[in-house]
Amino acid sequence: MRRLPLLVFGTISIVVIAAVVTFLWSLGSGAAERTPFSTADMVPRDVELYVAVNTEPSSPQWMAFADVLSQLNVEDSARDAWNELLEEEDLRWDEDIVALLGDEGYFAITDFSALDDGEGAVGAFKLRDAGKAEETVLRLVREALEDDGSELLEQDYEGETIYYVEEDDGLSGSEGDEVFFDEDTSFEGSSTSFNGGAIAFLDGVAVAGLAPEDVEGVIDVIQGRAPNVLANPRVEELRAQQLEDFLIWGYADLAAAWDAIDEAVEENSEEGEDPFEADDLEELRANADRATFVVSMRNDGFVVDAAVLRAPVAPVEDGYGFDEVFNSHYAQQVPEDTLAFVAGRDLYNEVYVPISDSLSGVDLNLADPYCGGFGSYFPTGEYSEKDDPVYRQFYDETGEFDYEAYEEWDGNLQRFFTDAEGNMDYDAYSEYMNGLYEGYCEEESQTIEEAIAEFEQDVGFDLEDDLLGLLTGEFAVAVNAGNFDADKPDFDVLGLLDVTNAARVEESMTLLGQYLEREEGWQIDGPDGSGVRLVREGAGSDDVGAWAVTDDSLALSYPDTPASAFVSGFEGDSLAQNEDWQDMMELLPEEKTFVAYVSLARLIEELRKVEDAEAEFADATDGEVTFDDLEPIRSLGIATTNVEGGWGMRIAVLIND
């Protein structure tokens, strides 16, 4: 009988305690420190760029970020650096900046085209103490303005005070003065002013903009006279998909960017010239209509997500980025200590065909510094004055320039374009010279398509049917490096490609080898017992590469050892068994269409082996950070994935102690 009250006591206690704890637990889950997008109702509806920033230091995102800094032993040094910087302004990072911020802020560009006029960008931050923020900001602004003689102006707008600065453009002069830039251009009038920024402090919110009009726009939104971004379906559709908290979330309306590019190209191109075909721009518009990016923390890493979405009515087109989901089987066939690894699927259809379609008509002379319009943007390699189609006639075999011959030629030419009064017709002279170049360039012109056809004829195969078209499975590249201190550091690279018809690929590779032997003087040996052929760039060269075709794969490597090891089957664990690889694959999207992986841990390990590296690194960071501190940084990964209505990418850094 004595046990009964004890049983009642225990039962009641368990029930009451469990009920209260469960209730508090669920209450705590629902009442987060911050609501993501809590500033969305302050953002003007028609934004072209919108970036929301989590500013709540006690949110899990910032706590995870602080934890990462702490793991890397840089939290204190980062804070000290900030404090040192802020000390001059009598501010402290934690107490006067972080503590002042509310749970979110945002930056937005409402009109890209207005930026040139000093308008169109705004930002708003929630504040915990608007009074202190106002006092601090205005003090700093006034101090800064004192130095350049400007003044902080004020204006009232709908019951709020907007502080703003009008800066001088530096062209001083009294009214009516004329300032001459050159003979044809003059600027009448005195100096003009432009927007130097504006800010207003509302109830618990600081609103800043490039111009007072920008701030007025946000005040209208906050006070309900203008619609906010929640009424913009283009943004709202994407915002609603962001269910988890973030550090930074961004949206870009690419339609506006395409408009700006279109306008800029039109303005800068000469009449009749069409450097950017309308079809190309429409295609880009259809395939990249909006973009989002998210920076967030995970328990073991740092993640950046980006997505580009097609226009809502645009048809789904193949061939824009990788879109076939796969799990890399080559990760199971390369060594565990692989430094970098890249893999995707269908090299032919996803890479070659779209590039070929876009570039087949491009003139190979495009990158020629004398013929191509883009010559100056490309590395010119061995180009020199000697290659100039007009002036090369004055260089002899040893590369010496014959000035006498040149002067005689040029003198004759100038005389030809000079009339009896001694006036030279520069326009005609210039036209003649251009004609010389055009004639040469037309003669030398060859499209990529024509060059490929010529190459196919020389080799004796059809590049697409006999080789590239047979590479529609997985492809991968594995890189390893080390011993950086040596005269010749260790380096090897292995390319692996699934083949659908091994015999045909073998035949094509043999033809290609024969072509390289014939045309380039390469030396191809083998195959050896495993089917590996050694490739030397010249007879007797020490640099040996290799290729081999197995039943399922084409392997190419430099030097020869990785291909040989792949064909004979390497011993030991594979990359797929590496813990960092496995953790990274979990951090990356489940449905990958392309993956890249770099073992930062291995890279750091190799760097540490370099003589004096430890000391030099410590010196470079004033002893604040050492290689030991970097140990938690494990790897970098990039993966692309299919997202609804578009294409997505994640970049992740695995940090794990």
């Binding site: 006591f9 508090l24 637990w25 705590g28 009442a31 934890d67 972080v98 503590a99 915990r128 328990n299």
Partner: protein, 181 residues
């Protein structure tokens, strides 16, 4: 009905402050209410990056749970959750003690059991608050530089803890007197 309430009023043992049998459970309810209210009132004033914030016991539990994102194993995740539950137990134990005390006459619970429930709930609250006080005063880790010093909700919770301990001791002493009688 508690065991000693069956005795005539004059014969009931008197320990410390004399309380009528109806007042003591009411006091427990008041102490539990204070414990619950105190749990949602500021325990600590923020400092450093949290200078303009304050943290109640409930906020602390949430803050602790936010660390779960940094947990890289099941055990560290369980540790984080366990710490949050430890904080939620402060009002839970107080409410439990109040329920037991109020329901004791109906359920015929011994005064000893009720006394222990009260004592444990009060002592537990004081232990948790004492630990937080220690962390806020001693520079053991970042706690001091980010959480600051105790605030009035802390004092309220400590008072409720002390009241529960006193009520518990009183119940246990009365039970002892009763046993002697």
């Amino acid at each position: 009905m508690l065991a000693d309430e069956r005795l005539p009023a004059k014969e009931r043992p008197q320990v410390g402050l004399a309380l009528s049998p109806r007042i003591a459970p009411l006091l427990t309810i008041v102490a539990a209410a204070l414990a619950v209210a105190g749990f949602f009132l500021p325990w600590m004033n923020g400092a450093g990056p949290f200078d303009l914030r304050s943290f109640s016991g409930f906020d602390f539990a949430r803050l602790v749970r936010n660390f779960e994102i940094t947990a890289d194993s099941a055990s560290s995740s369980a540790q984080v959750r366990g710490t949050a539950v430890a904080l939620y137990l402060v009002p839970a134990l107080a409410l439990n003690a109040a329920v037991l005390h109020a329901a004791a006459p109906l359920l015929g619970l011994q005064r000893r059991l009720v006394g222990w429930a009260l004592l444990v709930s009060g002592a537990y609250a004081l232990a948790i608050l004492g630990l937080l006080l220690l962390l806020s005063l001693a520079p053991l880790n970042d706690f001091q530089s980010s959480v600051g010093l105790p605030s009035w909700g802390f004092a309220l919770s400590a008072a409720s803890g002390a009241l529960l301990v006193w009520l518990g001791r009183r119940e246990l002493s009365q039970q002892k007197e009763l046993d002697r009688a």
